[in-house]
């Protein structure tokens, strides 16, 4: 039984336990690497357009995808009992609901608030305007990666690392940022990455990482990269810092600080630990070095975050989070930080929570790399 069939069965059980008739999970055709994709979580399919999964209390399940011509592909991939290709999602949803004895008042929606207004209104009308919402259902259901998902996350990490190896060979002065990003993107796609949340930018003194622009790379530039391929629905992110030319002692010293923060964060991230504790473990390292005033935006954003499209839990790693870590959670940990002497530096790995802490999925931890000129 695949994880998707397990989740469909768990959902049917949840409906029976709660005295509900059906669950309708929805997606707007977005693949956000920071959000759970409720349709993918249940069906194992990334549809092209707007989509829905209907699960009923007896275990029946229907995937509806748009456009209609994507139905054949979706049916081959989906773990639902039925798959329907349609050009009008609300109309197809209404038909699917009518085929079963479902009381709209006993229907749970997931992801309705992520749809555009027009589509949301039409879906609500199809549900008789009486369904109740639980937009956290899918992200909670999928918060622990199944073995096959963890294997896919490891493969995504391997693609990211091979991509970065290629980056180190390909980058040179005179190249534009977007050219480097394009090469990196296509290289990783050739390794099987179906998507890639790729940020890549350079400066002699970075304030943050951004998407690639037209800047010509030159000696002394510090290239920041968030390399985030997605393999079979599992995003994995590595954060790297690369200097064109020789690194300076101050750069190396400050980068070592981030590496130490990463190690402390990993050690603190055991099952049951709070996200706040893990964040503080990383921040304490920077505070001890005199950078306490910089452990807040805009000098950093978060110390890591969950990875869509399966589940974005445990959410952002911040001191404001009440979240708790569980064995088997996968997310990216990155004590990326602006340092006045060097600018913004990046250091991060995808990790899985184990009894001894956060184990990196990557084979090589981030180093301050340099490109010989």
């Amino acid at each position: 039984m695949s994880i998707y069939e397990t989740r469909l069965a768990a959902t049917a059980q949840h409906l029976r336990d709660e005295g509900l008739d059906a669950l309708v999970a929805l997606n707007f055709g977005q693949n956000s690497f920071l959000e759970s994709h409720a349709v993918f979580v249940l069906a194992g399919v990334r549809p092209i357009g707007e989509s829905a999964v209907v699960v009923d209390r007896d275990g029946g399940s229907t995937l509806i995808v748009t456009p209609a011509w994507d139905g054949e592909r979706a049916a081959a991939l989906s773990r639902t009992a039925r798959t329907v290709g349609a050009d009008d999602l609300p109309a197809a949803l209404e038909k699917a609901l009518a085929a079963r004895p479902i009381d709209p008042r006993k229907t749970l929606t997931v992801g309705l608030s992520t749809l555009g207004l027009d589509l949301a209104r039409r879906v609500e009308a199809a549900l008789g305007g009486k369904a109740r919402a639980d937009d956290n259902y899918a992200r909670k259901l999928a918060r622990i990666r199944a073995p096959e998902e963890l294997a896919a996350a490891r493969k995504a990490t391997e693609i990211a690392e091979r991509g970065y190896e290629h980056f180190l060979k390909f980058v040179r002065r005179g190249l534009r940022e977007f050219e480097l990003a394009a090469e990196l993107y296509c290289f990783m796609k050739g390794l099987g990455a179906e998507d890639n949340f790729l940020l890549l930018s350079a400066s002699q003194h970075n304030l943050a990482v951004t998407a690639a622009g037209r800047r010509l790379l030159d000696v002394g530039d510090i290239i920041l990269s968030e390399i985030t391929p997605c393999y079979q629905g599992q995003f994995a992110q590595i954060c790297r810092t690369t200097v064109i030319g020789e690194t300076t002692k101050v750069q190396r010293d400050k980068y070592a600080l981030l590496q130490e923060a990463m190690r402390r964060g990993q050690a603190a991230a055991v099952p049951g630990a709070s996200v706040r504790e893990v964040t503080n473990a990383m921040d304490d390292c920077l505070r001890a070095a005199g950078y306490g005033d910089y452990c807040r935006p805009p000098y950093m954003r978060v110390r890591g975050h969950g990875l869509g499209i399966t589940s974005d839990l445990p959410g952002d790693l911040t001191v404001d989070s009440d979240g708790r870590l569980e064995d088997g959670m996968v997310f990216v940990m990155h004590p990326n930080q602006y340092i006045p002497e060097t600018g913004y530096l990046m250091c991060g790995e995808p990790v899985v929570i184990t009894s001894v802490g956060a184990q990196a999925l990557s084979s090589r931890m981030a180093e301050l790399d340099s490109i010989a000129v």
């Binding site: 977005q30 690497f33 207004l117 949301a120 977007f178 090469e183 050739g190 998507d195 790729l198 622009g213």
Partner: protein, 377 residues
């Protein structure tokens, strides 16, 4: 064509002032001001997200790589751009628009409410909205809370779409986008002819387009001899003949697209596709009925049905969006207006195979220009 939307658009989206200078946006803004005057509106709010942002790009030059953005254009006073990015990211967002006042939309009340207060006046006022059908309900709730009873929203999507005729600078940019898509399509075809698998050939086309500064590239390929199309599968060795692929590129903010149909021997679907596109082009002129054009193309296909991936349409307007409207479908009632660019596509599929021929056309008062067409079509 519907394609898989990426988690982020990775191309370079900076405001290229030499290509679309500030005065170009002033002309567009003047047209928006005139609309506000006609409709008695105090402001227009232009919403867009990563998937659909045509009006936002046209008025503000801003394209959200992810999430959403909203440009606030008052009739009197200065515009503001809100982006769904963290405050830390705002400096980078400023590089992508001519609007100097850019703020994070995450702090809604401090970003939107003070701007709204500047609209002044005590009487109820109208505010135009564009793209609000795409807005997520929670954001709409925040917006309505801010507007209260003093402002009423009025959708002006249709009126604004009518304003957006293709301007000369836009046509120049679309021509460049067509060159990029042609390079990608020819590479795709040659790579397949050279023995690569279907998806590997598509990736080569994408690589070439991205190296030419395409901001976004979407590809689809067929694994079943042209009967259907599929987004990325990672099956690089799989090779099916005949070949059917699709490539769309966004370059300098403008879309262009082509289908690539290739076969060692010309089959029935390929011949029908060529005949259909040819018939469509013969009848293509300013004032022509969209429904009649569709019928011409369908008639030329003979007994073969229109290819299912085309969703019943043989063309539509293209520009800052890959689907600007103006569908050429069976029930289309509108007539063609010169000054617009169309993506045309005609094809068919049977039990064994399928093919689609396509072209990008600029319609003028005197006729039309073929900007680019499918290789070997």
């Amino acid at each position: 064509m519907r394609t898989m939307h990426p988690s982020i658009m990775i191309g370079s989206y900076g405001w290229e002032q030499d290509r679309v200078p500030r005065d170009e946006f002033q002309i567009r803004l003047d047209a928006l001001h005139a609309l506000m005057d006609r409709q008695g509106l105090a402001a227009v709010l232009v919403y867009g997200d990563a998937r659909e942002h045509a009006a936002l790009a046209w008025f503000a030059n801003f394209i959200p790589r992810m999430r959403w953005a909203m440009a606030l254009f008052p009739r009197k006073g200065e515009p503001r751009l809100l982006t769904s990015m963290s405050p830390r990211d705002v400096p980078a967002m400023r590089q992508m628009t001519w609007i100097p006042d850019v703020m994070s939309g995450w702090n809604w009340e401090s970003a939107f409410d003070p701007w709204l207060a500047k609209l002044g006046g005590e009487d109820p006022a109208g505010i135009g909205s564009i793209g609000f059908d795409l807005m997520r309900p929670p954001l709409m709730q925040s917006l309505q809370k801010s507007l209260g009873n003093r402002f009423r929203l009025q959708a002006v999507d249709g009126e604004v779409l009518a304003l957006r005729s293709t301007r000369p600078r836009e046509l120049s940019l679309i021509r460049e986008a067509c060159k990029v898509v042609e390079a990608g399509a020819v590479t795709m075809r040659n790579a397949w002819r050279g023995g690569l698998g279907n998806e590997a050939a598509a990736l080569e086309g994408e690589r070439v387009a991205r190296a030419m500064a395409a901001q976004d590239v979407r590809t689809l390929v067929s694994f079943d001899r042209g009967r259907t199309l599929s987004p990325f599968r990672g099956s690089f060795d799989a090779r099916a003949e005949p070949f059917l692929g699709y490539i769309a590129v966004k370059h300098m903010g403008y879309w262009a697209e082509l289908f690539v149909s290739e076969a060692d021997q010309a089959g029935k679907p390929a011949g029908a596709a060529k005949a259909g596109l040819s018939a469509l082009l013969q009848a293509f002129e300013t004032g022509a009925s969209a429904g009649v054009l569709h019928r011409r193309a369908i008639d030329a296909l003979g007994p073969s049905p229109l290819h299912p991936v085309l969703g019943g349409s043989v063309g539509r307007r293209m520009g800052v969006s890959p689907a600007e409207g103006g569908e050429l479908g069976a029930g289309s009632m509108h007539t063609l207006v010169h000054g617009h660019v169309y993506g045309l596509h005609v094809g068919t599929a049977d039990e064994q195979s399928g093919a689609i021929a396509s072209a990008m056309i600029m319609l003028s008062a005197a006729g039309y220009d073929v900007l680019v067409r499918s290789p070997d079509m």
